[in-house]
């Protein structure tokens, strides 16, 4: 049996740049920053007081009673999944639930629920703790809610690989369709942990930018002045579909998910391998899996989080695994780092780059690091033909995921 092609037929997102894919993509191409100051009282004492917060609050989309039983990460996963589902033309399509799977993960899970309920426990005792606490904080919650929403009966999966989660969830969707276990997989990532504790934790690792006075300039991948990532929140969901299934129903196809590569470093719990060995192998595997010529992969949406070490390691890995011809984008310069949703949102940006023939800008790249030896569309979008493109996502724990998308 030959391996089935897998295509992307629907996109959904809610991000710091917009409440849907169209507004997010427009803002990206215009080079807008979604980062702003945290003016909440709880942020006043933190060393980091900036973040990329959602452009559209979930309460503007879902009703109040529904939101009572959803963690914020679950609510935005549902919102993005509803969009992707409608975008794919699958609403009211009568798709057999037994041929539909879900693969949606989160890097950290329902941390804000955990912390809010712990406050209630301390202040008012155990009887006041919400009976919705466990389904709100469990890491499979977002995937399970999306599965319920869409009637998925072929399995609901929740990948957890820190900042590689969104990309790995999409890679799992590819495997599921190739293995014949489903015709359609709703895949992606979600994250909503803009709260004092996660910020304090990342900040204690010295991983975050402290450019508090210039929020919009704080996320600056590959720039000499970069000093860490900026935390973002949001969800990105794609509808993956067996190509023949999509063709049979006359679905609009954005791109082909041509291949995926997943590796692990076995090196350190948080530091990437010093030579980027795991990243190089992931990119090489993705390219081999995709059966696409390296010269056709002319664009990379890089992981590039704006940390001093990681940004340059990725450049080295791209040189070794792909060559010196691709034009890069670090869309985190605009969206901040959505952790478990990053790989999914950046896959969406990669797919739209192919569709529209445009590399989104990398903002704040005012003074490129000497190690930046590949081309970047700095400040302004660059229009060019993109037959195929790569998206990288790496996560604490030594997770490396690379995805290759190509024109349908």
């Amino acid at each position: 049996m030959s391996r089935p092609d897998v295509v992307v037929t629907g996109l959904g997102a809610t991000t710091p740049l917009g409440g849907d894919v169209a507004s997010t993509w427009d803002a990206m191409l215009a080079g807008r920053s979604g980062v702003s100051a945290l003016t909440q009282e709880w942020a006043a004492q933190l060393p980091v007081r900036i973040a990329a917060q959602l452009a559209v609050e979930p309460s503007e989309v879902l009703d109040r009673v529904r939101l009572r039983r959803l963690d914020r990460s679950e609510a935005i996963a549902i919102i993005a999944a509803q969009q992707a589902w409608a975008d794919a033309g699958l609403a009211d399509s009568g798709l057999d639930g037994e041929r539909l799977a879900v693969s949606v993960g989160s890097g950290i899970g329902g941390a804000t629920t955990l912390l809010a309920q712990d406050d209630i426990l301390e202040a008012s005792g155990p009887r006041r703790v919400s009976p919705h606490t466990i389904p709100m904080l469990m890491p499979n919650g977002p995937a399970a809610w999306v599965g319920l929403e869409l009637g998925a009966k072929a399995g609901v999966h929740s990948v957890a690989s820190a900042c590689a989660t969104g990309a790995e969830a999409i890679a799992l969707g590819l495997d599921i369709i190739r293995a014949g276990r489903a015709d359609v997989v709703v895949a992606g990532g979600t994250e909503a942990v803009i709260h004092a504790l996660p910020i304090a934790g990342f900040s204690s690792m010295r991983a975050m930018s402290t450019r508090n006075d210039e929020p919009e300039r704080a996320s600056r991948p590959w720039d000499r002045g970069r000093d860490g990532f900026v935390l973002g929140e949001g969800a990105g969901i794609v509808v993956l579909e067996r190509a023949e299934h999509a063709a049979a129903r006359g679905a609009r196809v954005y791109a082909r998910l041509a291949g995926a590569g997943i590796t692990s470093d076995a090196y350190d719990i948080v530091q990437p391998h010093a030579e980027g060995e795991g990243a190089i192998r992931a990119i090489a595997r993705a390219i081999a899996d995709a059966d696409v010529a390296k010269r056709d992969i002319v664009h990379v949406n890089a992981h590039a989080t704006s940390t001093p070490v990681g940004d340059m390691l990725e450049i080295g890995a791209l040189h070794k695994a792909l060559g010196d011809h691709p034009v890069l984008a670090a869309t985190k310069s605009m969206t901040g780092h959505l952790l478990g949703a990053a790989g999914a949102l950046e896959s969406i940006a990669t797919i739209l780059a192919i569709r529209d023939g445009v590399v989104p800008p990398t903002i704040n790249l005012d003074d490129p690091d000497d190690g930046l030896t590949l081309e970047v569309a700095a400040h302004k979008a660059r229009h060019m033909e993109i037959p195929a493109a790569l998206n990288n996502a790496f996560g604490f724990g030594g997770h490396n995921v690379a995805l290759v998308f190509a024109r349908p």
Binding site: D63, R64, V65, R66, R68, R127, R128, S130, P131, H132
Partner: protein, 79 residues
């Protein structure tokens, strides 16, 4: 507190917790079958009712409170 006042108080809780239309709340209505209150929301309703009416509703009592009228009777007897 009259039965009507207790019913009105329960309707407020049901609206807040489960989005039930207050006009639908009447003594003869079943929480699960008529008002669509699921088991987790029922836990929230009970805790909120304890607070609002200053009563204790033990877990083994909750299963007997099938209708709004059952709850009104129980709260009336306790308060």
């Amino acid at each position: 507190m009259t039965r009507d006042e207790i019913t009105t108080g329960l309707a407020e809780i049901l609206e807040e917790v489960a989005g039930v239309n207050p006009d639908d709340v009447a003594e003869g209505k079943s929480f699960t079958d008529d008002l669509d209150v699921d088991s987790l929301s029922m836990v929230e309703v009970v805790v909120a009712a304890e607070e609002k009416f200053g009563v204790k509703i033990p877990d083994n009592e909750v299963q007997n409170l099938k209708t709004v009228g059952d709850a009104v009777t129980y709260i009336e007897a306790q308060s």
